[in-house]
Amino acid sequence: MSVEATAGLENGTLAIAAAGPRPWRVPLPDWRPLLLGLALPLLAALAWEATVRSGLATGRLVPPPSRVAVALWKLARSGELWPHVGATAARVGAGFVLGGAAGILSGLAASYSPLFRRLVDPALQGLRAIPSLAWVPLFLLWLGIFETSKIALIAVGVFFPVYLGVMGAVLGVDRKIVEVGRIYRLSGLQLARRILLPAILPALVVALRTGLGLGWMFVVAAEYMGASEGIGYLLVDGQQLGKPDQIIAAILVFALLGKAADAGIVALAAPALRWQDAYEGGR
């Protein structure tokens, strides 16, 4: 809350200079914390590089950064990497869309209907308690060893955080704000579009980001169980052929893809969440 001199501002004339119309106020990024955070890993990488180059270690099992970079470069140059990236991204994408949509729909149903909540929520909470990887054998048995079981596993991973996030967000919407909608006689659909959706959007974005993060975790498991394509396949392949540089390269690709997908959600939601940006201040 601002502690400005309200008394003087109340008649409006004096208030003009105080806040003014609001332009795009993009805060300048501060690179210093980033550099500070990078210092330790960079130092460790350089030290290891120097150790291997000076012949103090062979770097056979823990390849120096240069060898990882070369492995990554070769995979990218030869074009071998891209089908793997495509396969993994497609699986995560499909699982995310399916699990996310199911999570949103059941989250909405659970928050709208007490009956649905009492009927379905306990069962879902029970299922949530099962470590999702425990589903793997069943999914393989039911859905086969190809894409369907992989996507189903990812969708299960995405579903729960989205379901919980949406249900919690709708149940947490301020009744007082809903009442504003009632005063203006909004229909159920209008109320959802003009009040509920914007009100839950911040929580929805957080839920989707959490879900997507889990999606990337589960795709590794899914591909690790047997795949002829995908970044996870590169991991298995690297392990079986004794190529630690390829394994680390694949890990790096996972990290990059995960970060890029997360940034994508944030960027898509940013225009709708602009009103919120000042709340993110305290880092």
Binding site: N11, G12, E179, I183, Y184
Partner: protein
């Protein structure tokens, strides 16, 4: 006490007619026990009473946010069975939608209008409440008084025949509150809607209202109706104002006195 008011009601067109209005909550609490009130068009009516006297319930019933257990509310002849297009409501808190700019908040109830007309109406409303410079600000950038003025603009922009105000200035500091009371009268003068104001502030009631209704609690019912025959703008320090104040305070104290001597008397005395 009711004589003067009733005579006027028959002369002027009645904007709001409340008949036998009662509300008992499912938990058995009798919030309102049969209220009859007629409010002529353009009148400013204040409703005062101690806490728990049902004044907020009365306002929510008029707004159509609650359904009465008995009796009826009519706005311009229409039976109120839910929020009515000719009735606006200003809450105790601004209740602006944080994801909309001030201008979009003010235009919230005008979604059915074409964009051009809506923009004109919103601009006029913002000008009247002195927030033109803040049209594109987010609600959280406003001070408490500015936010409540934006809420007033949002309620008035739909040109309601009846505007309900539920302790609209009680969360503000004293200076801002006085300024906004005067401002409300300026706004009222534009289209002269009927105002029904719930307040616990005797001075606020006397600055604003043509008549002040005192409710008696448990269950809430009309205890006293005081006409305020002072021309506006009213001087809060004038002798006549003091006389009215004393009179209204006496009525309020009387309404808080227990019907019979009950353990309640202690709390009533404390108030």
């Amino acid at each position: 006490m009711r004589g003067a008011g009733d005579a006027r009601e028959t002369l002027m067109s009645v904007a709001l007619q409340i008949s036998g209005l009662a509300k008992t909550y499912p938990n058995g609490l009798r919030a309102l026990g049969g209220v009859d009130l007629g409010v002529p068009a353009g009148e400013i009516l204040a409703i005062v009473g101690g806490s728990g006297c049902g004044k907020s319930t009365l306002l929510r019933l008029i707004a159509g946010l609650e359904t009465p257990s008995a009796g009826s509310v009519r706005v311009g002849g229409d039976l109120v069975g839910g929020p009515h297009p000719a009735v606006g409501l200003v809450f105790q808190e601004p209740r602006l939608l944080p994801w909309l700019t001030v201008a979009d908040n003010v235009g919230f109830g005008l979604a059915a209008l074409p964009a051009g007309e809506r923009a004109v109406r919103v601009a006029t409303a913002l000008e009247r409440v002195g927030l033109t410079a803040h049209a594109q600000a987010w609600p959280r950038e406003l001070s408490g008084g500015q936010a409540q003025r934006a809420a007033l603009a949002r309620a008035l922009v739909t040109r309601p025949q009846v505007l309900l105000l539920d302790e609209p200035f009680s969360a503000l500091d004293a200076l801002t509150r006085t300024a906004l009371q005067d401002h409300l009268l300026e706004l009222w003068a534009f289209e002269r809607p009927t105002l029904v104001l719930v307040t616990h502030d005797i001075e606020e009631a006397l600055v604003l209202a043509d008549r002040v209704v005192t409710l008696r609690p448990r269950p809430g019912r009309v205890d006293n109706v005081q006409a305020v025959a002072m021309s506006r703008p009213r001087d809060r320090d004038a002798h006549n104002f003091e006389v009215h104040k004393r009179q209204l305070r006496a009525a309020l104290n009387q309404s808080l006195a227990p019907d019979t001597l009950a353990p309640d008397s202690l709390t009533a005395a404390a108030l």
